[in-house]
Structure formats: C-alpha cells, structure tokens
C-alpha cells in the first residue's frame, strides 16, 4: 500500500458498489486502497495485524471474530442483500414452488453466508433432506460457483445474493423469504481521521444510496 493511502478491506460481495464508491470518494482527495477478499480471509488478516482501517464484512461470524479480538472501534450496518433464487437466461424462470422438482446450486451450506441461508430456507420448508438425498442440491464454494453451475446448465437455478444475481446481468430471480444477510462497516482499532471520515461518508445515506440500490442492495439507515 502506497504511502499514506487509506487501507480498506472489502468482501468480494461488496465489490461492485465499492468500485463506484471509490470513484466517487476520490473527489474528496483521499486515496483509497481497497483490498478484496472473503470475510474470513480479511478477518484473519486483521487478527494478524493487517493495517486495514475499515472493513466491510458480510458475515456475522467473522465480524464477531474480529470484535472478540478487541480490534473494532465501532461499526454500523450499511446494507442488506436479500437472498434470491436465480434462473439463468434461456430457462423457464423458477418460482419458489418449483423448488422440490428442480436441481439447484447453493454456496457452501456450512461456511458461506448464502449457503447457510439457503439451507435455512430449505430446512424451514422441509425440503432440505429430501432434496439432498435425491442429489438435487449442488453445494460448495461461494455464490459465484453456484451461479456458474446454474449458468452451465448443471443446475436449474441457484440460491445466491441479490447483488450477485444482478451482477450476472442476465436471467431472472425471485426473492427467498429469509432474513437477508447484512453488510456491516467496521472501523478498526487505530483508525485515522480519514478513516472516520470515510465511515461517515458511507453512513450518510445520500452519498451511497443510489449506488447500493443499483447493485441490488437494500440500504439500511
């Protein structure tokens, strides 16, 4: 990271809006140096003393992990990203009621936020066990893998985040009625005045609302 750049760590899931935010924030004269990774990766880096000042996290467990190490000054929720059932282009758009007879791809149901949500939903509607035992659920990896598996035709659809579905720029999606995972902005210990200013910028709805909505997020605050 060059000189006095402000180092920010951002989960992949927040990359599309973040890129536009960076562009916009550059006008303020502060140069942002953004590092992308998974929540877990970034959290572990922070626990080892990574010089990030702001961390945008999409996974409650890793947020708690960083907090438990006493490395967070304060934080706030910036947006939620609803869970959706996505159907690739050229296939009949899936509805939730089609689920029992469809092959779907989901992210890792143990480790990935949207995998966990997908499983939560399927369990709630009592489909999980039967679908898994019939091999109707292709799981593992992150949202992009799930989307890709569906895109290649190996699955009829994928349960992923709304922002990812939007990012695919094709196909269609319907919302899955579970609590949407929330993205939080964490200002880390030792944050400078510039970092606080960035946090303030993100917190002020007006500056990022449009961008977030464009990207499929639901702004909180």
């Amino acid at each position: 990271a060059g000189g006095g750049d402000l180092m920010v760590a951002v989960v992949f899931g927040f990359k599309p809006p973040m890129e536009r935010i960076v562009e916009k924030y550059n006008e303020s004269g502060v140069k942002l140096s953004v590092s992308y990774g998974t929540s877990g990766e970034i959290a572990r880096q922070i626990s080892m003393g990574a010089p990030y000042q702001v961390f945008i996290c999409s996974d409650r467990r890793w947020e708690d992990f960083v907090k438990s190490k006493g490395l967070v000054k304060h934080g706030f929720e910036i947006a939620s990203n609803p869970v959706v059932l996505w159907t690739p282009k050229g296939k009949k758009p899936l509805e939730l009621k089609d689920l029992p007879n469809s092959k779907i791809a989901i992210p890792d149901p143990n480790t990935a936020a949207y995998g966990i949500k997908a499983r939560e939903y399927l369990e709630k509607v009592g489909l999980w066990n039967s679908m898994v035992s019939k091999g109707m659920v292709i799981m593992g990896g992150g949202p992009q893998r799930a989307a890709l598996v569906a895109k290649t035709g190996m699955a009829d659809g994928a349960i992923i985040g709304c922002s990812v579905a939007k990012d695919m720029k094709e196909g269609s999606f319907v919302e899955v009625p579970v609590k949407a995972p929330v993205f939080t902005v964490l200002v880390l210990k030792g944050a400078s005045r510039e970092a606080e200013a960035l946090a303030e910028f993100l917190r002020s709805r007006d500056s990022v609302k449009g961008i977030l909505e464009d990207c499929g997020f639901i702004p909180l605050r």
Partner: protein, 213 residues
Amino acid sequence: MLDALLISLKVLAIDAPILALLGAALGWVLSRWSFRGRELLGLMLQLPVIMPPSVLGFYLLFVIAKTPGLRDMGVLFSFPAAVIGSIAPSLPLMIQSARGAFGSVDRTLEEAARVLGASRLRVFFSVTLPLCRRQLGVGLALACARALGDFGVTLMLAGNVPGSTQTLPLYIYSQVETLDFGAAHLASGLLALVGVGCLFLIRVMENGRGTLH
C-alpha cells in the same frame, strides 16, 4: 476429519498411478518424438500450473459441463471430480519432470540394449526407465504433493461435500471458515504428516534397488 483423510488418500491412490503413467507417457512423447508443434504442445501442457487453481477449476467446470459426452458421464460434483480436480494442476509437474528425466538418459545405453536384441518395449523398461527412475520419482513426488494439497480446482469441480468430495484440504478450509481453528490446525498437521509420509514412500521406492551410479 478421518473421513476427509480417507477421501484424500483414496484420491491420491487413484491419482498416483494416473500421474505416473500419463505424466511419464506424455513426458516421453515430448522428449523423444519430434513432431511439428512439439514445443508449443509442451508449453500448453504447462498452462494448468500457471492458472490460479480456482480459475483453472472454473474453466474445467465450463468445459466439462459444456461437452456433451463428458457432461453426461456425471463426473462433476462427485468423487470422480475430486480426482480430476487434483490431477489437472499436478499432471504438468509430472510431465515436465518426466520430459527432463527421459532427456537425460544416455542414448548409447539404449543402443547397447537394442543391439543385444531387446525390443523397444524391453529397452524402455529395462534400461531407460531404471536409469531415470530417480528423476521420475522426484517428479512424481512433486506431482503427488501438489495433488494431495489441491483445493481450488477440487472445490470448483467437486464441491465440498463431507464424506464424498471433502478432501483434507477442503476440510481444513471448512474448519477455518467456521472458525474452528483447533480442528484446522489438527487437520493441517495430519495433511503434513500424510504428505511427508507419501513423499517418504516415493523416496524409499526409488531407492529400492540400491545405489545407482
């Protein structure tokens, strides 16, 4: 964890002979045949080492899913995919090593064997192969280590299904992602142990027949 270990070992048990045979065969062709585009083919075969594993996995997934015959064999997202996933990035290591190994064998010795009436096949197995066994062993060790440790490609092609495609590296990943660091460390230790054990085995095997030259 023992499940994952078992799967890793199963994958390795299938990988090792494939790597040894296919890798050696391709290495041999590249070192001994001369044909148009040999250099190019040699370089192309090295591409999987250069590609980041998950990207490689990505492309492989695409290719397999879009190729009619392959798709219908149902190898994806199941145990066979774990095998393919671990072979893809490690085969080039074996090919490259084998190519070097075969290239270093003194041709006069092969000639001597042929003059003594040995068929090409016998020359290969009784002279060429033993003379570069050590180097092939080094290559196989590298390739097996890479295969054992693979995670990115396997994850892409096979997913991470405990008891079916969750190899030890994937298990470690899962434990880390669920913040169970204790299990992750333990599994890493186990992986290291297995890896070192395999390398050791290969070393013992290649030294099997006593000192060479």
